[in-house]
């Protein structure tokens, strides 16, 4: 019994000492290194990000970066952030947010404004001036820099350059032109499975762009100075253009079922002449498994409405610092580094991420690694941000759901437009 109690006491003393030492060392450790936790999506090349972070840590030994990998889709990613930030969690320091989110994060007070971390106004202007203008704008809410651009994306017009060449055609500049070309080629090819144009009308986020492309092309705007600026005739013209495509047989009848990846898969299988899609599709077309269209794909600016301008829809992601972070200065420094031209170049070359700097698109190394970025730049320059408002989700729902019901033939355009005006108006009230 005696020995047992002796051993027991020894154990108690030993473990107390150990705990004490651990506590003391962690205090010192805390003073020596600053831990930063970065939250990125599962499909945003965490492996590549880790390499970049390793380089940063090597150059900044007092920083320790931990990566947390989140949901695979923008939606799941955001759901997790919504929950964690509503609970005011302090463990996340930096996260990636979708390009449509800064206004929401600003209103909810979830992102730390980064203005002060540039040191001086001059330095801020110098840094921000380098970005593509649309991206600078998308990240600034009421003068506050809510986040910094990470990488870009845009909607492109992909086309079968082999088919266009065969019929001696140049990429179309207007939608009616595209329809004519599609019909010419279809008549010549006599292939019932060949679609003229593939675009998305499923009730997904991308369909917001489907609505906005012709609308913007005609000069329409959704929000001006924080108020609704809806132009119903222009919207109607836009929807009519898409419905015409289906009516003429240029696009298929069940377009309301078509999502982003459906377009990509069908174009990749060689069954589409013109496709409206995001930047990710290029790699699949050129080097995806079983691709039927390698080296046959051209990229062009999206056609305009007659009398309008060519526009594209802006995508991409931004780095934000959590308002609840305990290491804001260190996090801001890391974010500035992540959003620098040098890092952007690395991401472009090693991960095919679209740069957010015009200069990087034109960088020789980048062009050598990814030749098509040279063609991509003019398109990216036409890209416009989707409506900037904290209630973006509501606006998005109004636009994509009504576009979907119109293209499905379930709702009349006039009804749909009235509902859009009502719901978007309510959202920006």
């Amino acid at each position: 019994m005696r020995t047992m109690s002796r051993i027991f006491s020894a154990l108690v003393v030993a473990s107390s000492v150990a705990i004490l030492l651990a506590g003391v060392s962690s205090v010192f450790a805390g003073q020596a290194t600053t831990p930063l936790k970065v939250y990125i999506g599962g499909q945003q090349r965490p492996d590549l990000m880790r390499e970049l972070f390793a380089a940063y840590m090597a150059a900044n030994p007092s920083i320790k970066i931990d990566v947390e990998i989140g949901g695979a889709t923008s939606d799941l990613h955001q759901k997790y952030l919504n929950m964690v930030l509503t609970a005011k969690d302090t463990t996340l320091d930096i996260f990636l947010i979708d390009v449509v989110r800064p206004a929401q994060f600003a209103a909810a007070g979830w992102a730390e404004p980064l203005n002060i971390y540039f040191g001086s106004n001059a330095s801020l202007e110098a840094a921000m001036g380098k970005y593509l203008p649309a991206y600078r704008e998308a990240n600034t809410v009421a003068g506050e820099i809510i986040s910094l651009p990470a990488f870009a994306d845009s909607m492109f017009l992909y086309y079968r350059k082999d088919l266009l060449k065969k019929y001696d055609l140049q990429p179309p500049t207007t939608w009616p032109e595209l329809a004519n070309m599609a019909r010419t080629i279809a008549a010549g090819e006599q292939n019932p499975n060949l679609q003229g144009l593939s675009f998305q009308a499923k009730a997904i986020e991308g369909t917001v762009c489907t609505f906005l492309l012709p609308y913007w092309s005609l000069g329409g705007e959704m929000i001006r100075d924080g108020k609704l600026a809806f132009d119903a005739p222009k919207a109607e013209a836009g929807l009519a253009m898409w419905r015409d495509m289906v009516a003429q047989g240029v696009a298929k009848k069940n377009v309301a079922e078509v999502g982003t990846d459906d377009t990509r898969k069908e174009f990749q299988a060689g069954r589409v002449i013109f496709a409206v899609n995001w930047g990710y599709a290029w790699n699949h077309f050129e080097s995806g498994a079983d691709t039927q269209v390698a080296h046959k794909v051209g990229v062009a600016k999206l056609p305009a409405m007659v009398g309008g301008k060519s526009v594209s829809c802006m995508g991409g992601w931004n780095w934000a610092v959590s308002a609840f972070s305990k290491n804001k200065a260190a996090a801001a420094a890391l974010v500035r580094w992540l959003s620098s031209p040098e890092t952007s170049k690395q991401l472009a070359i090693r991960g095919s991420f679209h740069p957010v700097f015009a200069s990087v698109y034109q960088d020789q190394d980048v062009i050598r690694a990814i030749p098509w970025f040279a063609d991509a730049l003019p398109v990216v320059l036409t890209a416009r941000p989707r409506p900037v408002t904290p209630m973006y989700k509501m606006v998005s729902d109004a636009l994509r759901i009504n576009t979907n019901t119109v293209m499905a033939g379930v709702k009349k355009p006039s009804e749909a437009l009235a509902e859009i005006e009502l719901r978007v108006g309510r959202a920006v009230r």
Partner: protein
């Protein structure tokens, strides 16, 4: 003995085969579809006319499934969480069900209804507070973060099933055992539970599958890769736009195998011959 037409119809072997065929097709078809898809290349999915069996079967999807994500880790995590929460749930609900079914308890209905009330709230609205609880208890990204909520989520169905089955067991058997010197709790574990085996195993299967398939909590509370469960892991194969059905089907096949094993092994215990001999009369 007169047999009316209906009974001769039901007893006809032909009809039984027909009915059996329908059951088998109904149950197996989607699972077989998933299996077939997991062996196809992506291009085949948009072929017209659609193909059922793969044209050129490939195991690449399975290789990719294991390579792109630590699928075995996810499998292990799901197994640990599901097994432990099921056992805990069965234990706690056995105790509670015994109290409700057997013992002199006022307001039984109220208690039963409060237990069932747990399933009346959409889980998504309980997420933020649950996250806060787990964070405060420092249990985020651990097995207990899921085991505890799953136990509670499965309490209603387990309790209700066991109450019903305990109710059907005549009191005399227990009373006889207790006269022989057995305690109440002893009677519960040695007599009542074994006699209620079909109910116990059914509740166990239901709880296990519920825990195995649960997505929302697993996504929010165990986001770290080391503790991720299967449903969350499988959605990680998606891209922002891309939904690679072949790879996801392969992962689904892997996810379903343990569940199928559990069901096959235990459904035998559900129908093990307790009807012959009979509990009543």
């Amino acid at each position: 003995m007169t047999e009316n037409k209906m009974s001769s119809l039901f007893s006809s072997i032909r009809l039984r085969w027909f009915a059996a065929a329908i059951v088998i097709i109904n149950g197996l078809f989607p699972a077989l579809w998933i299996l077939a898809t997991s062996l196809k290349g992506e291009v085949e999915l948009t072929a017209k006319p659609i193909t059922y069996l793969p044209n050129s079967p490939t195991l690449l999807n399975f290789i990719s499934a294991f390579r792109d994500q630590p699928l075995l880790t996810y499998l292990l995590n799901s197994a640990i969480v599901a097994i432990l929460s099921t056992m805990l749930s069965l234990f706690i609900s056995a105790l509670a069900a015994y109290a409700i079914a057997r013992l002199n308890l006022r307001r039984r209905d109220l208690i039963l209804t409060s237990i069932i009330a747990v399933s009346m709230f959409p889980l998504v609205t309980l997420m933020v507070p649950l996250f806060e609880i787990m964070r405060a208890a420092n249990l985020l990204n651990s097995y207990w973060a899921l085991i505890l909520p799953y136990t509670v989520l499965n309490l209603p169905i387990c309790t209700l099933m066991l109450v019903s089955f305990f109710h059907d067991i005549p009191r005399d058997i227990e009373n006889a055992a207790m006269l022989d010197g057995c305690t109440r709790l002893g009677a519960l574990w040695r007599i009542v539970v074994p006699l209620a085996a079909p109910g116990v195993f059914t509740a166990g299967i239901l709880a296990f599958v519920n825990s195995w398939d649960e997505f929302l909590l697993a996504l929010s509370l165990n986001s770290a890769v080391a503790f991720r469960t299967l449903p969350v892991g499988i959605q990680m194969y998606q891209g922002e736009f891309a939904f690679p059905w072949p790879i996801i089907s392969a992962a689904l096949v892997v996810a379903m195998v343990p569940v199928v094993i559990v069901i096959v092994v235990f459904q035998d215990k559900v129908v093990s011959g307790l009807t012959s001999g009979g509990l009543k009369g």
